[in-house]
């Protein structure tokens, strides 16, 4: 399993950086290799990524998530599998160090990238720079999800989050 890790220091507080990161559907705005993200539920997202003419689609599950601290994910299914982690750490000067680590399985686009020395690191570095530029220019997050996830299960922050206000009466 090949692993890449990159860190970027961002000139916004941890909470701002973290909150913006939770807005996955916005990633295509600033990450050039992310073409589309659809959030199916708080822990499950569908990603379409591309490099040049290549396009790959995969579904990820957030396994663990603690607000203002970290988030780990894994792809579902056996193809194009990878695991990832992003951590948010205060730099002590009001800024945030964002570290992303991705471990790729034996197959798929991520695996191919990580197999080429330096390639995956370059892509990751570039995308983190895009994230940095975006959130620093914005100055505030365009939203934020403050729930946490443990073992793939959501721990909501409030008894009845807005998204869960749906019909719950019995369906025959």
């Amino acid at each position: 399993m090949n692993t890449v890790e990159e860190t970027v220091e961002i000139d916004v507080p941890v909470r701002t950086a973290y909150d913006q990161w939770t807005q996955f559907a916005c990633f295509p705005r600033f990450m050039t290799s992310v073409k589309r993200v659809e959030q199916l539920r708080p822990t499950v997202t569908l990603w379409v990524v591309g490099l040049g003419p290549l396009r790959r689609e995969f579904v990820t599950e957030i396994v663990d998530q603690v607000p203002d601290s970290h988030l780990t994910w894994r792809t579902l299914g056996q193809r194009h599998g990878h695991r990832g982690e992003v951590t948010f750490r205060s730099t002590g000067e009001g800024g945030t160090a964002v570290t992303v680590r991705i471990s790729a399985g034996p197959r798929g686009l991520t695996a191919a990238l990580t197999a080429v020395p330096g390639a995956a690191g370059r892509v990751l570095r570039r995308e983190l720079a895009h994230f940095k530029a975006y959130i620093e220019r914005q100055g505030e997050a365009g939203g934020g999800w403050r729930g946490s996830v443990r073992g793939g299960q959501v721990r909501p922050t409030e008894a009845e989050p807005p998204r869960s206000r749906v019909p719950v009466w019995p369906v025959g």
Binding site: E38, L40, R41, P42, T43, V44, L46, V59, E61, L76, G77, Q78, G147, R150, G151, G152, Q153, V154, R155, P156, A159, E160, P161, R163, S164, R165, V166, P167, V168, W169, P170, V171, G172
Partner: protein, 764 residues
């Protein structure tokens, strides 16, 4: 295109070995054969190529979810869906001349198959008191007649408004609004008879009445249970999801009293391996369970999991999930540990080794989905069985995570949406308050009647007016003779229908047929061409838009009929209801829905997006809206049915060539039964014990604790690998054997499974 049959098809049984795989090339051939017998090649192509596509027609055949936009096949339907849609798109027509030729008393002797094959209804018809004929009636006169009857009732609660799951969200919303504005909550529906047990069990234990899974969950599960369901015939598109799951490495355990073809192997006709190859094996394990033994099975599995945790503490159960998200674990565990193996083995007909093997499958799987259908819900202990399934899922945290969850597989295409729209006789005050606030009238609060209680009330004369929107209530309901007497006891019965069925022939003193547009047809209103919306089994709300020219210029849409009936009955209003605006433009209905039904805010804009709206499931958000605010473990008890010597437990089921109450032919290709539906399938060893053999003619006689004899006459015995002690026969022919009082505990759902019967050689 073929003409409708003049005579009943000849009943001539031949039996061949049951199939061991489903779909493949024969499915395509049979679908096209039936479609082209009903309608033109052009209309067949239009239907099939727009079916289940974005902005196309939602197949009315079942409620299985569509793949995400961009992932759909050009042909995104199954054999049964193709037959169903072209059965509606048929070029055959039932006209006033037909009714002049055929008196109601004659039609009442016709089979379901013959009635359906006559074609589409084309103009409103009325049967007046004392007459034996339907005769044409204008729309205005028909609606005034209905409104006059409604206004003449002593109480609004003397009327019932029945809904079948084909009805769109818009029509369902208008219907419930009308019923409540008129003054009653008498809104029975087909849900009362299919998944009511699921709704009650899930609502109590998880705080939501809906299933928790999406297609992605099935695709990425490690282990899938298919319990009491036959996807090959009843939800064939589920097989594609199961195929994907298998290709991703999932294991499947099928639990059923019959070894159905679709549980064994699937040949996907859209893939080379399905056309020229062996297809994909579906079930890795098949548990040949006795009808009704499922509760005992899951209780035994739960006991085994608890014992495995004892042996390896911290490695089997999801302790942190149980601690943080559930309540009632200790009481449940103490109860489950007492499950007696002798009782379990007797109830299930399985061996302990088989159940322990499944336990091992579970222990090897970190992501488990359980699917079920009416093989569970239609038992007396359907609700406790589903609660025990929930216990099973909770033990290892198989809820709220990707690749896990509870999956009640629903049949009618919008049965879930109709409930979301408020078609339920027991709607909570929160919904009724929202109706009041939006429309400015106070809806009735007393609970109304469900299907079973409606029949009882009709029989006793407490209900005088019956309006059915879609469906075939008389055949879908239990205890056919009792239901028919009840219908005939009404002062007026009316049905909003596309095709002729028995409910039109077994009717009140006055009867109306109100013909309506089908899903396949364009719906032009004053506000322009309309679309409707539906909600599938996985809580995805999306559009459906017909493409064909209506079967007759005299058809009105369901929404239009209901709005006009409301206007004739109530005038505009009450409050600020504007029925004419609703009829003119369904966007105005959805605007109102968006302010009443939680989760459907901004309905018009969001539903128009490809794929529509995915309603979140609170369980997947970590929210359990139960009495304790957590998922509930429950203690469930069961009693093995008393099975005296010489008796069998009957389950009713559909044939492969059938949609709900309507058979398309007399064949059941997968089970190898051709040319007759009056067959009773019995295990060969039971036949030997009963001194019966293949081809014997018997009456199937129900055994129940009242004085009524329930007899389904003249059935042919077919040896079939049903579980020992059980038999199977087709629905709705054997609905006559299901006593009206035989209902599932808690849900009041008729028990069309596990009916105690004996087979009698007729004295004739």
């Amino acid at each position: 295109m073929k003409k409708p049959p003049a005579d009943e098809p000849r009943d001539d049984l031949t039996v061949t070995p049951p199939k061991t795989w489903a779909a493949g090339v024969p499915a395509v051939v049979h679908a096209l054969e039936y479609s082209l017998a009903q309608t033109s090649p052009k209309d067949t192509a239009v239907d099939l190529l727009t079916m289940n596509q974005v902005d196309g027609i939602d197949c009315p055949g079942c409620a299985w979810a569509d793949p995400a936009p961009g992932h759909r096949h050009r042909n995104e339907y199954c054999e049964n869906g193709a037959k169903h849609i072209n059965d509606e798109a048929t070029t055959r027509r039932v006209t006033a001349g037909f009714f002049r030729e055929h008196p109601v008393s004659e039609l009442a002797r016709r089979s379901d198959l013959w009635l359906n094959q006559q074609g589409r209804l084309t103009e409103p018809m009325v049967k007046r008191p004392g007459s034996d004929h339907y005769e044409p009636i204008g729309w205005r006169e028909a609606l005034e007649l209905l409104a006059g009857e409604l206004k003449a009732l002593d109480s609004p609660d003397e009327a019932v408004f029945y809904t079948s799951g084909r009805v769109s969200n818009e029509a369902a919303f208008v219907l419930q609004l009308f019923a409540r504005a008129y003054g009653t909550n008498n809104l029975p529906d087909c849900s009362n008879m299919c998944h009511e047990s699921s709704g009650f069990a899930l609502h109590e234990t998880l705080g939501t009445g809906k299933g928790t899974v999406s297609l992605q969950d099935l695709h990425h599960a490690d282990l899938i249970f298919l319990v009491g369901q036959n996807p090959g015939s009843n939800h064939p598109r589920q097989l594609s999801a199961l195929e994907q799951a298998k290709l991703n490495g999932a294991r499947i355990v099928a639990v059923n009293p019959l070894p159905e073809a679709g549980l064994m192997r699937f040949k996907n006709p859209q893939k080379a391996r399905g056309v020229i190859g062996q297809g994909v094996r579906i079930a890795d394990r098949f548990l040949h369970i006795r009808p009704g033994g499922d509760l005992a099975l899951f209780q035994a599995l739960n006991r085994l999991l608890l014992e495995a945790e004892d042996a390896r503490p911290g490695h089997v159960l999801d302790r942190s999930f149980i601690r943080d998200n559930t309540s009632g674990f200790e009481e449940f565990a103490a109860h489950a540990r007492q499950a007696s193996w002798d009782d379990v083995l007797a109830a299930t007909g399985l061996s302990r080794a088989e159940i322990e093997d499944v336990r091992d499958e579970v222990l090897r799987s970190s992501r488990v989905v359980v699917c079920w259908a009416m093989g569970i819900t239609q038992h007396k202990h359907g609700v406790p069985t589903i609660r025990e399934i929930v216990n099973f899922l909770l033990l290892r945290g198989n809820l709220g995570r990707a690749g896990t969850g509870a999956c009640p597989v629903r049949g009618h295409s919008n049965v879930q949406g109709d409930r979301t729209m408020g078609i339920w006789e027991q709607m909570p005050d929160s919904f009724l308050d929202a109706l009041r606030d939006e429309f400015g009238f106070d809806p009735p609060r007393a609970h109304g009647l469900d299907s079973v209680d409606s029949i009882k009330a009709m029989r006793e004369g407490r209900i005088k007016f019956f309006l059915g929107v879609a469906g075939n209530f008389v055949r879908a309901a239990p205890d056919s003779a009792v239901t028919e007497d009840a219908m005939r006891n009404c002062r007026l019965t009316a049905h909003i229908s596309t095709k002729l069925n028995r409910s039109h022939t077994v009717c009140g003193r006055t009867a109306l047929i109100l013909p309506t547009l089908g899903r396949t047809e364009r719906d032009h209103q004053a506000g322009g061409e309309q679309f409707v919306t539906v909600e599938n089994s996985m809580s995805e709300v999306h559009t459906s838009r017909g493409r064909l020219r209506p079967a007759s210029p005299h058809l009105l849409s369901e929404v239009a009929i209901l709005c006009r009936l409301a206007r004739h009955t109530l005038g505009q209003g009450p409050g600020n209801i504007r029925w004419d605006a609703f009829e003119a433009d369904y966007h105005t209905i959805r605007d109102r829905i968006s302010r009443i039904v939680p989760g459907l805010h901004d309905f018009n804009r969001r539903v128009a997006r490809p794929g529509g709206i995915r309603l979140p499931n609170p369980v997947n958000e970590g929210v359990y809206r139960t009495a304790t605010g957590k998922a509930l473990f429950t203690r469930n008890t069961w009693q093995a049915p008393d099975l005296p010597e010489g008796h069998l437990l009957l389950q009713t089921l559909r044939s492969h060539d059938q949609w709900n109450t309507i058979p398309y032919t007399l064949d059941d290709r997968y089970r190898g039964i051709h040319g007759s539906r009056r067959v009773v399938m019995v295990n060969p060893e039971d036949l030997r014990a009963l001194a019966l053999s293949a081809g014997d003619r018997v009456d199937v006689v129900g055994v129940w604790h009242d004085d009524t004899e329930r007899r389904a006459e003249d059935f042919e015995v077919v040896p079939y690998p049903t579980a020992r002690g059980s038999a199977a026969a087709y629905y709705p022919e054997t609905q006559v054997l299901v006593p009206l009082d035989s209902v599932a505990d808690i849900s009041n759902q008729p028990t069309s499974k596990g009916i105690l019967v004996r087979l009698e050689r007729p004295a004739r």
